[in-house]
C-alpha cells in the first residue's frame, strides 16, 4: 500500500494530504480489481471460444435482466461512495480554519509574490510556519494563473478580477515546489517557486528580520540571491543571450537605445527606475511586459541588485 502511494504521490506535507491519498488508494485498488477482472475475462473468452475449423454458428443467447441490473447497481453504489467521500474531503479543503494566518498571494507573468499581514513581503519563496493553518488570499495582475503545491494537495486558480482562496497546514518542515498550472504564456513553465516551511520560532525570527544581506554576505552576493529569489532570472539572462528582457551581462554602463529612439547609459538611477517604474524607459526591441516591483522590493534589495549587475562584466 505504502509503496504504491510513494510511486504515485509526492510526500504528504499538509494535514489534508493523507485523506486525499487514502481516497486515491481506495479508487486505485477498486479500479485495479475490476480492470484485471475485465481484462482476464476478455482474454479467457478469446482463448476458450476461439473459432475452430471455420465453424461460426453460435447458440441462441439468453437475455439476462438480472445480470444487467447487477452490473448497473453495483458500480452505482461504489461510485456514490466515492462521490460522498470526495465531497467530504473537498469541504475540508475549502473551509478555512478560523485561526489561520493570512497571506496575500499575487500571481503575474511570471512569478508569485507574497504580502504578509505583518508587513513582510516575498517573491518566489513562500515562508510559512509548520503546524499552523495558513490562508492564501490570491489574485492575479494579468491573465489566469493557478497556484499548485503538490506536496500539500492544494490547487486554486488565480484570477485577475476577483479573489480566490485556498488554505493549508504544513505538517513538516522543508521546501516544497509551487507550480503555476494554468497556461499563462512564454514563461509559464518557469513560473514556479517554493514553500519554505520553518519551525514557528525560526519563522518568527524571519518575519522580524526583514531584508538585507546576511552576516558576512557582500552586497553583490545578496544581489545575486535577490536576482533568483525575485525571479529576475526568468526574463534576464546572464550570458548575453536575448530573453524576454535585455541580458544583465555587461549591462552597467552600456549604451542602450530606448523604444522612443533616445539613447541612455545604464547607471544606478536607470536600474532603480526600471525596477520600480519599468514602463518609463524601455530598451528598444523588447515587449513592454516587465512588471513593477514597487512595494515588493525594499531599497536594500535594489542596492544589492545594482551591486550584482555591476559585477556582471562582459
Amino acid at each position: 500500500m505504502d509503496t504504491t502511494r510513494s510511486l504515485f504521490l509526492p510526500p504528504q506535507g499538509s494535514t489534508v494530504a493523507s485523506d486525499v491519498d487514502a481516497l486515491f488508494g481506495f479508487i486505485f485498488w477498486i479500479s485495479l480489481f475490476f480492470f484485471v477482472g475485465v481484462t482476464a475475462l476478455t482474454v479467457y473468452f478469446c482463448i476458450k471460444y476461439k473459432r475452430k475449423d471455420g465453424k461460426s454458428e453460435t447458440t441462441p443467447y439468453i437475455e439476462s435482466m438480472a445480470l444487467e441490473i447487477t452490473w448497473i447497481v453495483i458500480p452505482t453504489i461504489l461510485l456514490m461512495v466515492i462521490f460522498v467521500w470526495g465531497f467530504q474531503d473537498f469541504v475540508r479543503l475549502h473551509i478555512v480554519p478560523a485561526n489561520s494566518m493570512e497571506i496575500k498571494v499575487t500571481g503575474q507573468k511570471w512569478f508569485w509574490s507574497y504580502n504578509y499581514e505583518e508587513g513582510a513581503t516575498g517573491v518566489g519563496e513562500l515562508v510559512v510556519p509548520v503546524g499552523k493553518p495558513v490562508k492564501l488570499l490570491m489574485s492575479s495582475k494579468d491573465v489566469i494563473h493557478s497556484f499548485f503545491v503538490p506536496a500539500f494537495r492544494i490547487k486554486m486558480d488565480v484570477l485577475p478580477n476577483r479573489y480566490t482562496i485556498t488554505w493549508f497546514e504544513a505538517t513538516m518542515t522543508g521546501e516544497f515546489e509551487i507550480y503555476c498550472t494554468e497556461f499563462c504564456g512564454k514563461g509559464h513553465s518557469e513560473m514556479w517557486g517554493t514553500v519554505k516551511v520553518l519551525p514557528q520560532d525560526e519563522f518568527d525570527k524571519w518575519l522580524e528580520a526583514g531584508s538585507g544581506p546576511g552576516e558576512g554576505e557582500s552586497m553583490k552576493d545578496y544581489g545575486a540571491r535577490m536576482f533568483v529569489k525575485n525571479a529576475c532570472n526568468t526574463c534576464h539572462s546572464l550570458d548575453g543571450s536575448k530573453n524576454v528582457g535585455p541580458t544583465f551581462q555587461g549591462l552597467f554602463g552600456r549604451r542602450e537605445v530606448m523604444s522612443d529612439g533616445t539613447a541612455i547609459t545604464v547607471d544606478e538611477n536607470y536600474i532603480r527606475e526600471s525596477v520600480l517604474n519599468p514602463m518609463a524607459k524601455q530598451v528598444a526591441g523588447f515587449d513592454p511586459v516587465m512588471p513593477t516591483y514597487q512595494g515588493i522590493l525594499k531599497d536594500v534589495d535594489i542596492d544589492g541588485l545594482i551591486a550584482y549587475i555591476k559585477s556582471l562584466e562582459n
Partner: protein
Amino acid sequence: MEHTIPEKHYLNEATGWKSWLMTLDHKRIGILYMIMVMFSFFLGGVFALLIRWELLSPDKILMGPEMYNQAFSLHGIIMIFLFIIPSIPAILGNFVMPLMIGAKDVAFPRLNLASWYIYVIGFCFAVYALFTGGIDTGWTFYTPYSSESTTAVIPILTAAFVLGFSSIFTGLNFIVTIHRLRAPGMTWFQLPLFVWAIYATALIQVLATPVLGITLALLMLERVVGIGIFDPAMGGDPVLFQHFFWFYSHPAVYIMILPGMGIISELIATFSHRRIFGYKFIAFSSLGIAFTGFLVWGHHMFVSGQSDLAAVIFSFLTFFVGIPSGIKILNWIATMYKGSISLDTPMLWALSFLILFSIGGFTGIVLGTLSIDVHLHDTYFVVSHFHYVMVGGTVMAIFGGLHYWWPKIWGRMYNETLARIAVVMIFVGFNITFFVQFIMGTQGMPRRYATYLPQFQGMHGFSSIGALIMGVGFLLIAIYLIYAIFKGKPAGPNPWRALTMEWETPSPPTAGNFEGQPILEHGPYDYDKVIPENALKPYKTI
C-alpha cells in the same frame, strides 16, 4: 474461394476530377473526407512528435518556450477540430451508415457535399493561421490570455467556427436519414448499434455546436470591436468563457467517443459471430451518455473559482456518465461469451479499445472525484487520461473501423500480417507513451510546460520513445492500406461474414448501393439463425 472486383462500381462509374469534386454520392464524399481528415491526423501527429522531441530534455532542445506553446496548441486544435470530431461520422458514418440501413444515399446529398466544402474552408483558415503567426493559446482559448495573445487568434477562431457548421450539417443530415430512409422492416431496434451511436452523436452535434460558435464569435467581437465580455480589463469575466467553452467541449468529448463505441459494437458482434448481448442497454446507453454529457461541463472547472456548490453538483452528475460506459463494456464482454471468436485485425483493434478505454474510464472516476481533482487538475494525469479515452478509445475504434470496412470501401484486402504487426506496435507504443504520464501527473508535473524540473526527465524520455513507436506504426498502416487499394486481393462482398446490410452489396458497392429498395430479412446480429457467406446473395426488394 477466389473473388473478383465487379465491373461497375461507385469508384469507376464516373471518372475525372469533376466527378469527385461535384459528387453527391455519400460514399465518395466519405472518401473526400477521409483524404482531408487523415492528412490532418498526419499534421497533428507531426506536432505531437515535435512536442515529445522537445521534452526529451528538461531544458530547451530545438524549440524555445514560444515555439513549444505553438506546437502543443496546434497539436490540440488540429487533432480535435480537424481530425477527431469529424473522423468517424464524416468518414465511416458517411460511407457506411446509409448502406447499413438499406438506403441509396443520405437524406440531403447536396448538404452533405456542402459540409465537406465548409470543412475545407475551415481547414484553409487553420493553415492560414499557421503561416501568419501561429497560435499559442492551447486548444481551449482561455481568456484573458486569448484576448491578449499576439498570435493569429482570429483566423484560428474563424477556422473552429466554420468547422462547427460542417459538423452541424453532417449531424442534421444523419438525423433525418436515420429517421426517414431506413429499409422497410428495419425498426429502431433492428438498427445496427453503429447507427444508434451515430444518431446519438448527431443529436449532440446539432444541439451543442452552436454554443461553441456563439462563444468563439463573442471572443472575436471582444478582440476586434472591444466589447468586454470575457476580458476583465474591459469589465468581462474570464470564468464565463470557461463555462461557455466547456458547455460545448464536454459534450464534444462524446461526439468523439460515441461513434467509436458504435464501431466497437459492430466489431465485437461480427468477430464473435454472436448476437450482441443487451442490445437495448447498449443503444439506450448511447442516448444516456449524450444526455448526461450536457450536464457535467463544470467538472473541468473544480479549481476555476466557480462556486463550491456548483462543483459538488457537477461532480455528482459526472459519476452518472461513468455508468452507461460501464454498461457498454460489460455487454461487449458478455457478447463474447460462447461466441465463435476470430482474432482478425479489426477485432485486435476492438480488444485494444476495451483495455485502453477501461483505463481511460477508471482514471476518469479519479478525476471526477472532487478532492482528488484538486491535486490532479492540469497535470499530466489529465493529459494521460484524455489520451487513453481519445486515442485508446476513439483512435483504436477509427482504425478498427477502417480495417473492418476497408474491403467494402475499396473491394480489396490489406496484408493481414503487416496489419497485426501495426496494431501491436500502436498498442505497445501507446502504453509506453502514456502510462508514465499518469505517474508524472500524480507526482505533480503540470501540463503545457516547455521546460521542467530534472526529476521528470527519465519518465519524459520513456514517454517519447513510445511516441516514436506509435509514429512508425501509423506510417506502416498508411503504407499497407494505400497499397491494398491498388494491389490488394479482391475481398468479396462479405469477407467477415457479417449480417448487417452493407455486406449484401458488392465490394466496392455500385453507385446506387442497392438494386431497388431492399427489405430487411433478418436482424443485424441474428447469428444464431442465419449463417452468412462471403458471396453475393439476392435480397428481397420492393
